[in-house]
Symmetry: C2
Subunit: 172 residues, 2 copies
Amino acid sequence: MTMSLEKCIRDIPDFPKPGILFRDITTLLNDKDAFREAVDSLCAMLKDVQIDCIVAAESRGFIFAGALAYQLRCGFAPIRKPGKLPYKTYRHTYELEYGEDALEIHQDAFPAGSKILVLDDLLATGGTTGAMISLVRKLKGEIAAVAFLIELTALNGRKKIEEYPVYSLIKY
Amino acid sequence: MTMSLEKCIRDIPDFPKPGILFRDITTLLNDKDAFREAVDSLCAMLKDVQIDCIVAAESRGFIFAGALAYQLRCGFAPIRKPGKLPYKTYRHTYELEYGEDALEIHQDAFPAGSKILVLDDLLATGGTTGAMISLVRKLKGEIAAVAFLIELTALNGRKKIEEYPVYSLIKY
């Protein structure tokens, strides 16, 4: 089933910088059947996980989060770049290859003890995922699962989050 | 029906700058019943519109676009800030109150003649919506409808797009 989905992902060499092979999901999103199959497959993979709320980071993470929150009948708490969320936030700063980045979540995004699905389109080195998990824990959320459309297995991002149940639909 | 949705939207005074009353939809997204009702109501509003593909701009526009593309069984073409889309793009530059901004779409986002739903969470002055429409027209898409979760009627954004069918769920 996921074989056909892989065919809908476009490889872009040297994006965003030389030496990186970018997995472009826009060709999958453009294709109504592929998008539907991707959402259905993610939901099927997570069918035994109890979820109160999905968290996902802007921007690409929001696409599947919207579809899955609807299908799984749970809430959605956006994680955004600093200054974008209008209410009181918690911020998590994390290291990048060069410099650092930060993400924020609303302090009232979900009640303590909520069962949270951390969702992203892609697991690479796990930096963004780690930041999302830190923010969920700051709000005392219980991480029910961490799920990805795509996992770049060679980058070992899964090692950073192996204490949680990790799901990915397409592995490279 | 939309009365209950309005109660789920939080007003934040003076965000992002003094004098602006920001309509914060994160409280609606956090609430699984409100989010579901918002998606269902948008779909019901658009039930007689034939749509091949939804276009929406990052980041907040992606949330409802994901849910609606799934529910309406159509594709989704993301519109992003310059440099974010990895393949060949068209760019539209537009004026802001101070300075200018730009948005991009992939040149192969949808075939010419496709029936397009332009979707956003909020219609204010219509600047972003106008840019999205320009990009759709550049790809020779046919604009089937323009839809919003929220319309700030006092800002008259609808006037800029009145040649198209415009739908909004919550009006202030």
